[in-house]
Point group: none
Chain length 213, copies 4
Amino acid sequence: MIVKSPASTSRGRRTRAALLQAGHEAFEEHGYDAVRIDDVCVRAGVSHGTFYTYFGSKEALFGEVAEAVVGEMFAASVVGTAASADPYARIEAANRLYLRAWAANSRLVRMFEQAATGDGRFGRLLLELREVFVRRGADGLRRLQEEGLADPALDPRLTAIMLGGMVEHFAHVWLDLGEQAAEETAVDHLTRLWARAIGLTDASPWVRPEEGA
Amino acid sequence: MIVKSPASTSRGRRTRAALLQAGHEAFEEHGYDAVRIDDVCVRAGVSHGTFYTYFGSKEALFGEVAEAVVGEMFAASVVGTAASADPYARIEAANRLYLRAWAANSRLVRMFEQAATGDGRFGRLLLELREVFVRRGADGLRRLQEEGLADPALDPRLTAIMLGGMVEHFAHVWLDLGEQAAEETAVDHLTRLWARAIGLTDASPWVRPEEGA
Amino acid sequence: MIVKSPASTSRGRRTRAALLQAGHEAFEEHGYDAVRIDDVCVRAGVSHGTFYTYFGSKEALFGEVAEAVVGEMFAASVVGTAASADPYARIEAANRLYLRAWAANSRLVRMFEQAATGDGRFGRLLLELREVFVRRGADGLRRLQEEGLADPALDPRLTAIMLGGMVEHFAHVWLDLGEQAAEETAVDHLTRLWARAIGLTDASPWVRPEEGA
Amino acid sequence: MIVKSPASTSRGRRTRAALLQAGHEAFEEHGYDAVRIDDVCVRAGVSHGTFYTYFGSKEALFGEVAEAVVGEMFAASVVGTAASADPYARIEAANRLYLRAWAANSRLVRMFEQAATGDGRFGRLLLELREVFVRRGADGLRRLQEEGLADPALDPRLTAIMLGGMVEHFAHVWLDLGEQAAEETAVDHLTRLWARAIGLTDASPWVRPEEGA
DNA sequence: CATGAATGAGAATTCATTCAT
DNA sequence: GATGAATGAATTCTCATTCAT
């Protein structure tokens, strides 16, 4: 895509950033289709003519917003990789991270899927993003399997998709659909479910009554 | 909602059904906003004037399509409730059911969320639908907890949301995003993860090597 | 090009014809670029939405106007071919015909050339039209040459282009630029010049004074 | 017209000339309406803000381009007037000149007619230009008539318009529409046709066979 | 009931022109 | 003088909806 204006002056850079920001907010609030170019312009405080100085179309704007968001999420996914040595703690940290990363952009990322239907560009972007998270999850599980800490019968990729999806989906229900829950409780549950699902032994202190007998 | 025409004649009933069916397909394929009344009419083989004999607006059509879909899913969720006595088998049956129910309508249901942004009507529909599945999951878990077969520390509702979300989300990734997987493998993994996540004793035969030593 | 509407009803056919007529007039009066779709609609007495029921764009309308005009001119070029046996009279008849054919559409045909620059479609149409007239002229000249009535040294095609151009251009100057002249005088001059230019002997009764001496 | 800037500095003069040149080329290539100020500026290598330092509007630029072109053509029409004493050679020289003058600017001059539709200013310019050529042709013919070398029955002005139009129109067909022809052949034919059309005695050596018998 | 012509509000986009830097 | 950001009037085109036949 041709970036219409390199925004060579500082004023230009400011305007461009304002439009990007306004677009981000507008898309988040109302969804791709419902956003009018003018909405974005009003929010950014510029005339609609100015919009076209910086972006060729609504789609172009969305593309840049999307790239920025995906970039953020990539970045977030990397932070804190070198966490604890304790597997359970690592899972907990990852879940917290995951939840927060999606918290910031849940609605927008969902929107990529709508936008993705037709085009293909956003679809690819979205798949790449998801793949990063999936791969991280799969790699983690594989390591645990090699160490004998997780059920070796589980397919790492499939499992990562499923458990990762659990977190992603919960983030959506929690943040977008307003399901009430404290972050601590949420992370605690997600981690406990995840850890025990893969067979991590010391996943929880729970001991079945019968065993105790 | 005022149903514009009770479609009293049999010809009328046929036309109405054709529009409903055409709408279902069109929404599924292209998404709410991208569908034009004309697309639906062409697909149904009627003139676009006729559309308004049966539906007051595009939204009205979508509303009826949505209600039909939700009805189907409600129905599907009830079927086979009285399955096996074995908890693991019950979970497996539920997951298979769940997966299939979403398989049929995943794209449309997702669309409810887009459409929901506006007036809240579809949003409510969606919440009610989800609630049915959540409640079933929560009830099942509570029963297992009472029987001492599942971790009593887990919050039934939260857990049901998370694990139900895992299934729902996987259905989406699998069917809409094209992740490759055999249904058997998928159901097997989902069930294993679900069962072990809640601490169901005989969830899987896996025993950690060290323990075996 | 897809004709947007076959205008199956008589009302539709009337509206379509009105738009075509209005377009013809508007293009003729103001030129392609200066005509707004709305001008055409107002003139035709329909809303601009209706315009798009029948034509996909201004260019599409112009295309149909152009085809109609070219068709008319083709038709006009054929009429009266079987005229007199006297070569001079034949040339005169052809010139009168030529002048009248261009009289009706001079401005529009000129417009094709503007419109032709970019596209190619109108350019081809125009070349074909011109070719018809050129070929007729060339064939006529060739016959006269074979009969020994015209200078055999003249290239028929080139000559036809030049003398045909003389008539076409004069039509433009006369009709569009307002040069004053009576049709009789014009036809008389054009014929006399044309006939004598190709060496047709009895082209004019004029005898050079010296010869008379 | 108020010339916005006298371009007092040498840098200013250079910029002004660059814009004029760029405008000339752009108008020639794409036509008046299709040219955007930005195209001209890019071609001239200046920012579009600068344009308005030198020209008040697109029309003003076109006006200056037009005046320059017309000036050139006036100049060209004068050159070589004092040629040979032989009438046929004089006509040949004039035709060659005519053809070359139009060759250089045919497209732009045609454009004057489009642009003329609006305010009449360019139309007047064009008429004046054409008048120069017409008058020269008419004067030449009148002289020949007085000398008994051309048909006295011909109206000088009308004849000059017609034969001049033949040359002008051929220039257009040849150069703009791509009709293939060598300049020599073209000038030879034009001259022969022109000379014989007005009845110039020794116009061509052709003698009808019958006469030769 | 069915048809399809007509409508017009609304959205995207272009581009000549102005103006602060 | 030069720059390029900002403006907004003007234009094209879409599509849900109405209505006469």
